[in-house]
């Protein structure tokens, strides 16, 4: 009993560690990658030099770290934490303080249903590498993502600021609009793999099409993949869908936030980005599957075999999941610094008049194809 609880707590800590670290590194990536894309140097000053004779040899070691701006996140954090804890005059103090909490909480909770590896057999136990094994995994994730709206609405209403309020209205309507498309695109995946359980969906992606192509979601649902990624991008409210935030002008629902509370909104944004990357990986890019890797090792379609031990297989799976997630984070970041912003009517047109009908048609076509395949 207690050992089961301990295992679950351990899994939760591992997942938290992954998410917090990737999200934290995002703040550095955002500074440095944007600099590279815009032909700037970016952060290259935060740091310190040692004066003490005994530690002076460390200075050459520190220099590349400073030039890469790797200490900038620490400086950012110190600045945010040291700021005054302020709430707007005439605002609702408690709701104002609880809004970033709600936002961050619901951004984190969804990760409990994401599987980051297959079953690990250790000391006679089978540990499924997933914090909460839910029969309805992806409905749970969408429910939690939907609750994230509350943080935004509360921040807008409690700030006593019309700009924050308008930002909150825009954000809430954008999130609701794109959630519909998001849900509709995933239906196709659920129909193909026949389960709402994310672990089962990932296992289903281990099969091979025509003996050589991994049966990943992107190959059986290419349209669904593109629609899902776009809608998920809109859910993160970053450029090109950043109308609610207006990051470059800082006129959005978090206009009246500063210090740690603003930092929480920022962190939640990065956590959402990681969530989008993790969901895209899980649903469309095989999750922890590595092409041609089976429980006993690699079995290539041309007949070659490489035996890998159980721990080796699990390690390759977890690392493959992490690499895919990081790759999608990089792609999201590149999109964010490449594209210009939509106009609000274009955003709503795209969501309701283009993407939603196409995603509904995708469901119908998927159903027809599945019927045809079963009939043949």
């Amino acid at each position: 009993m207690w050992i089961d609880v301990a295992i679950k707590v351990g899994l939760a800590m591992v997942m938290m560690l992954i998410v917090i670290n990737i999200a934290g590194i995002h703040s550095w990536v955002e500074r440095k990658q944007s600099a590279v894309i815009q032909d700037r140097w970016g952060a290259n000053r935060a740091g310190f030099t040692f004066r003490a004779p005994l530690l002076r040899w460390l200075n050459p070691v520190m220099r590349p770290i400073i030039y890469l701006g790797l200490l900038q996140p620490l400086a950012d954090l110190m600045k945010l934490v040291a700021k005054e804890n302020w709430s707007p005059v005439g605002g609702m103090k408690w709701l104002h303080a609880s809004a970033p909490f709600f936002y961050l909480l619901f951004a984190f909770v969804g990760f409990s249903a994401i599987p980051f590896g297959d079953t690990l057999h250790v000391a006679g136990r089978d540990i499924s590498l997933q914090v909460a094994h839910l029969n309805v995994g992806f409905v749970f994730i969408f429910a939690m993502a939907g609750l994230g709206v509350y943080g935004i609405v509360l921040s807008g209403v409690s700030s006593n600021n019309n700009y924050a309020f308008l930002g909150a209205v825009r954000a809430a309507s954008q999130m609701i609009s794109y959630e519909v498309t998001l849900g509709a695109t995933v239906i196709g995946i659920v129909m193909v793999y026949g389960s709402l359980d994310l672990q089962e969906i990932v296992r289903g992606q281990g099969a091979l099409l025509w003996g050589w192509l991994p049966k990943w979601g992107v190959f059986v649902q290419p349209l669904g993949c593109i629609l899902f990624f776009t809608a998920a991008l809109a859910e993160t409210k970053r450029i090109p869908f950043d109308l609610p935030e207006g990051e470059s002008e800082i006129i959005g629902y978090f206009t009246e936030y500063s210090g740690t509370k603003f930092g929480m909104f920022m962190l939640a944004d990065f956590v959402e980005t990681v969530m989008v990357a993790a969901l895209t990986t899980t649903l469309f890019f095989g999750g922890w599957q590595f092409p041609y890797l089976h429980a006993s090792g690699f079995v290539f379609p041309w007949g070659a075999q490489v035996a890998v031990g159980h721990y080796g297989v699990v390690a390759i799976q977890v690392i493959s999941f992490l690499i895919k997630v990081v790759l999608f984070c990089w792609l999201l970041m590149t999109i964010r610094w490449t594209l210009p912003r939509f106009r609000y009517d274009q955003l709503m047109d795209l969501g309701w008049k283009r993407m939603l009908p196409v995603s509904l048609a995708n469901i119908a076509v998927t159903g027809l194809v599945i019927l045809l395949i079963e009939a043949l």
Binding site: N135, V136, F140, M144, Y150, F165, A172, I176
Partner: protein, 169 residues
């Protein structure tokens, strides 16, 4: 034992949230209490092995319907509304009727005996058949007609709302 404790917590907390919801004069606070109420209801569904219904409860009620309420509340000035003393002329009569109804309910509950209802959906069946599958089978076999009628009613409501909102299509 643990199950009883959880049920006790969810039931008591849901009741408290419900009472707090109807007694707040600030609409925004009322909506937040309603959110807490929905989440605790989802907890009770979880105790009944109805994971799918629990997730849908949070997704549909808390994630969609209540957000629409919040939209309306946001467009009102909640603080001004909270100052208005809302007391209707028929409040005395209404509270009298509600009190009598409540008393009848208390008497009936206190006198009656409760037998657990045994439906077709047992925990073992749910585990073997799957949560979503059980709901789907019930919806598309036994309750197909009510299900379709409900969807038709929703469609009518949607068309009506669009007609009212957009005079010129």
């Amino acid at each position: 034992m643990a199950e009883h404790l959880f049920f006790l917590y969810f039931a008591v907390a849901a009741l408290i949230c419900g009472v707090a919801m109807v007694s707040r004069s600030n609409l925004l606070h009322a909506a937040l209490w309603m959110l807490a109420f929905f989440v605790h209801m989802a907890g009770i569904f979880l105790l009944l092995n109805a994971e799918f219904i629990a997730a849908l409860q949070v997704m549909v009620y808390a994630g969609a319907i209540l957000v629409l309420y919040l939209f309306v509340i946001m467009l009102l000035d909640v603080r001004e509304l909270a100052k208005v003393r809302q007391r209707h002329a028929s409040a005395t009569v209404a509270s009298l009727i509600a009190g009598v109804m409540g008393a009848i309910m208390v008497v009936v509950v206190a006198r009656g005996t409760f037998n657990p209802i045994h439906g077709a959906a047992t925990a073992a069946l749910l585990a073997s058949q799957g949560n979503v599958e059980s709901v789907a089978i019930a919806l598309f076999t036994t309750y197909l007609l009510p299900f379709e009628v409900a969807s038709l009613i929703l469609l009518v409501a949607m068309v009506g709302a669009i007609m009212l909102a957009k005079r010129r299509l």
